[in-house]
Structures are given as C-alpha cells and as structure tokens.
Subunit: 347 residues, 2 copies
C-alpha cells in the first residue's frame, strides 16, 4: 500500500492588537511588547501578527488590562499592580513591598503555584496572563534632602503610587500621583520633596540628579516587579494550540530579555548618574524596619478584605520563606565574596 | 476583483535526535531537554519532532557536543566546560571559577556580547548554541572532615572535575574524576576525602550526608553554570526560519524553567539534608581568597595559550565588573534586608 502524503498543519492568518501601558521613551519596558510581536511573527512566518500600540495611542496606559478584559483589544502589556484598586489581588502578580526578587518571581511562577493562582484570579477578570518582563529591583527614589530617620519622612510629599504609596502613608509620607513627564518640574519647584521612578537607566533620561541629588536604595516596594502580557480570555481560548504555545514562548523570552537588558543598562547608567552628581544612599534600617511592619499590617488588612488576595498572598509568602532560606546559603555567599573583590579592586 | 486566498506557510515534517549529557535520574537537568522537545512539538503541531536520548544511550555523556559537531546527532544538551580540555574557551560558555552568577549569565548572553562571542567560537567547532538551562550556584561539596585553613586542603583527595579541579590543584588538592554513581562508596571507604556534585536537590538523592557530613558552600567554581543546547551547524542553517525561531524560544524557556525548578527544589532539599545530619559550613575567607588568586593565575595562563579564551574572557570580565557594581546597590541590599527578616523569624 502507498502511504498517504503527510498533511502539514497550516498556520492561519490572525491579527491582534496589543496596547502597552508604557510610552515609547521607556524603550526597555515598552520594547518588551515589540519583542513579543516580532518573535510571534518569526515563529509563524508572519501569520500571527500582533500590532503594538504605545500607552494612550488607543487606550490610556493605566487602563490597558481593562481594555483587554473588555475585548477592546486582544491583549495588553502592563503591570498588574496598576489595577490593585479594582481588586488588591492584582498586585501580587507583579510586586508588593518586600515581596519576591526577580529570580524568586520566576521560580514562583514556573516551579511554584504562581502561574496557576494568578490565572485563577485573572479568569475572574476575563483575562489570561503570562509574565513577560521584569525590571529587577528598582531604586528607592530621588530626595531633595537626606532622610535618615522616620521623623524625616513625616509630611514628606513623595511621588509614589499604588500599594507602595499606601505603605509609605503609614510612615507619614504624603503620596502624590504625578505622570512621569511632570516629575522633574515638580521636584525643581519643590512642589514635591521626593519621587520614585524606575531604576538608573530610565531615571537617568529624566535628569533627576540635577534637582534632587539623594538617590536612595533599594526600592523595597519593588523587589522584582513582573511586567505581564494579559490576554482576553475568550481570545486566548480561541487561539490554535500551536499559537498558544508560541505566544507563551515569546512572553517567556521577553520576560528574560527585559531583565537582562535592565541589568546591563542599569550598570552603565549608575556610573553616569554618579558622575552627574547623584549621591547614592541606602535607606536606614530604622526606615526599612518600619516600612516592613507597615507592609505586614497592610497585608493583614487586605487579606481580611479579599479572599483572592489572601489565597495568593499565603502561597507566595510560604514560597518566599523557603526561597530566602536557600538564597542566603549559596547565592548570597557567592555574591558577597565577589562584591568584596569588586570593592577592593581585585575584580 | 476577488482577493486571492491567503496561502499559509506549512510546517514541514522534520525529525531530529538529541543526546543529553545527563542520566534520567538527574530529572531536573535531564528534563530540560525533554521540555525543549515537548515545546517544539507543541509549537509546530508535532511536525518538528526531537527525540531525546539520555547519556550513554547512543553517545557517552561527555561526548555529547562532539557528536553533534560530527553530525552523529543533530543536537545535544550538555555543559560546555566538559570540553575545556579540547579548547579552554568552551568553559567560558558555561561557568568558570568565580565567574558570573545565573542572572548575570543571562544578562551577558541576552544583553551583552555573550551569545555572539560564544557562537563565534562554537562555529569553529561546527556548532551553534543557545543557553538552555542553569542550575544556579552549586554547593561546594561534601567533606569527611572540617576544612578551615589552606593546610587542611593539602593532599585532600576530592572528586572535582575540569577547570575547577585545576584551580583546586594549585591549593594542594588532588582532584579525582569519579562518575556520580561511584562517589558514595568512595567517600564511605575513605578512598576520597571529599566530593562535589551539584546542589541540595540532586545531592540529597545520593545520601552523602551519611558518609561525609560537612557540606560546604558556595560552589565558587560554578556561580551560575549554563546548560547548553548545541546544534550541528549545517543542521541549524538548514532549518526553516520559523523553526529556528521556535527552537530558540524553546531553549530560552528551558533556560528559565530549569533555574526556577532548582531554586524551588533546592530550598526544600536543603531542609531535608540538614534534618538528615548534614552540617552546613561556609568556606573560610582564607580558602576563598587563595582560590580566587589561583583562578586569576589560571586565566592568565589560558589567555596566553588560547586567543579564543582571551577574547571571550576579557569581554566577560568587563561585563562582570559592571554587573557586580550594580548588583551590590539594588539587589544585594534588598536581599540582605529580607534575609535578616528571614533569620529573625519575621518573614
């Protein structure tokens, strides 16, 4: 008998629109969505075409996930904590103060319960999601004056949003919501006393060192914030299986690549910032400890209020305990030794 | 006029064989190749089929890359430092003592010159490659007696291979090459005094705590060893472009997933090992500093001998300097604070 000729599956033509929460000027984070689209096209010979729109081109930046849930667009590239006011559980998908670092986020998503739990919640929002970027730990913001004690924080007007702002409010800070482009003049005039933005590479472009030279670290409210690809649930379910696998893979690549780019670019930008007059300062233990307690108190309140928050938080917390137990043995002692060599000029 | 129907590109049927350097028992590292094959099939509706063979099924574990270069198989899943005796530059693609940690490896490959430089060298070996796994920092091995000073290392028979063995030899250690399955009886009988294997998860399976209870850290010779997918160069070039993009994506997923799995599993295994009697000990600064100097001296020799080694080493070293400059500001202070909370029971 003759074998029947193999019938190869075809890649159907599909066009989607993706709305990003970021302006093109934040090239690393905005670029993550462009990378996803480029890779999906490459893997499908151009048949699955995702058109990327910057924030505000078709949807406001902070509405991106909502637009995907409503089906206005098929997908969005955004940070889930933008939506924590709608339901606090959103924040756990991205970053909470004193949460997981970037590597632990990946471990929780890929080898813990993160992906399952977050998408269980996302289904209630008519969404499906994948981690698709990470900035790594952010910086703790630019201050016009040194802050050493909790007293120094009292009444301080600081541009800081979302859940981080809620935690800082407990310490007496007055959180301000100000778009990126308006931060510099507000700091220059003294309308605000401090502002957090992202990290050295993105901050360097906005020239903050000229108007608020004290650059504090770490940004304890964002240990490893995840940038997500969020997809309208019906649109996700309607994709051919191979396109689902391809989109998932492209998001995983963007997830790793964005962190790699920030790591490489932040190192260079940090040197430029210091040369431009930025004064690097670690947050004092007094401030960190008080912020930590304030964060724990906030999570107890949110857990009492939202069963979605409680379920994901409890799982993430248990994972974090184990993760920091292991990290302090191998990774930390290796890195510590290498940093000593770096500081002593032997690296 | 009527539009012509879209002609969708077809996914051709292709079958490849992959030989792994690992036995099935090392399920996390061996499983990386299975994950790659599964994902490639999912993304091509089963049309690009990669059959995975464990070490020694068709090719000895330490010959995997050579078999791919020779075209015996289309690809291999292996660690490049296994081949450093053939040409020392191989080791730089995976890990060298006091090299990059896992996150920095990713940054160097994806946002530095790593991928370009390693593949420039790999082309001389008739290979193309992608990072496709990482164990994270490994442990520093099991010892029958405590070692505190350099004197304690003199004449010590230690199961440790490759470039790490060469560095330890400069400190008076007598490196031994012993397959994984033979380590336990050798330690039990005292034929050897010490052995390094991988990390808590893999080590736990072999029961070393019973015969050599001192478990040292960190494994400074493997800060973040990369496991590679290496592909016969002509076979790579002959793949359709969309299959190249798909294979690259599947390798990137395996790269992230393996690290995530080790991070999650090592944390749990570490607790089990301590419960089973393992005594955790950090290497002394005296030993670390001497090993560091021995490594630098080794790299000077290898750079003088091999232009391939020198070119890649110089680039990787410059990247490492910047990477540790940035890491000690943001990541390190965040992690340090979290570890203090972990140790004090507040996490």
């Amino acid at each position: 008998t003759l074998a029947a000729p193999a019938i190869a599956q075809q890649n159907p033509k599909i066009s989607w629109r993706l709305t990003s929460s970021f302006p093109k000027g934040l090239d690393t984070i905005y670029g993550g969505a462009v990378d996803i689209a480029d890779r999906v096209r490459a893997m499908t010979d151009g048949n699955f075409d995702i058109q990327v729109f910057a924030a505000a081109e078709i949807v406001p930046g902070l509405e991106a996930a909502n637009a995907a849930g409503a089906g206005t667009v098929e997908m969005a590239h955004t940070v889930l904590y933008y939506y924590y006011g709608k339901e606090p559980a959103y924040a756990l998908g991205a970053a909470i103060p004193f949460g997981l670092n970037a590597r632990m986020q990946n471990a929780w998503y890929n080898a813990g319960n993160g992906q399952t739990l977050v998408n269980e919640f996302m289904a209630t929002q008519n969404l499906y999601s994948f981690p698709a970027g990470n900035t790594g730990v952010q910086m703790g913001g630019w201050f016009r004056k040194e802050i050493n004690t909790l007293d120094d924080l009292k009444g301080l007007k600081m541009r800081i949003g979302g859940l981080a702002g809620k935690v800082m409010e407990r310490l007496g800070v007055v959180p301000q919501q100000i778009p990126g482009g308006d931060i510099y003049p507000a700091l220059e005039k003294g309308t605000i006393d401090a502002a957090e933005w992202v990290g050295p590479y993105d901050d360097n472009k906005l020239g903050f060192a000229k108007v608020a030279k004290y650059y504090y670290y770490p940004g304890f409210w964002e240990g490893g914030p995840v940038v997500h690809a969020v997809i309208n649930l019906e649109k996700w379910n309607s994709l051919p299986k191979n396109y689902q696998a391809i989109l998932e893979a492209a998001c995983a690549q963007a997830n790793a690549d964005m962190l790699a780019k920030y790591d490489a670019r932040n190192a260079v930008a940090l040197k430029e910032l210091v040369a431009a007059g930025a004064v690097l300062k670690p947050y004092s233990q007094e401030i960190l400890l008080a912020a930590y307690d304030a964060a724990i108190a906030t999570y107890a309140e949110l857990s009492a209020k939202s069963p979605h928050f409680k379920k994901i938080y409890d799982d993430q917390l248990a994972f974090k305990r184990d993760a920091y137990l292991w990290a302090q043995i191998g990774e930390y002692t290796f890195d510590t030794f290498m940093m000593i060599q770096q500081r002593s000029g032997k690296l």
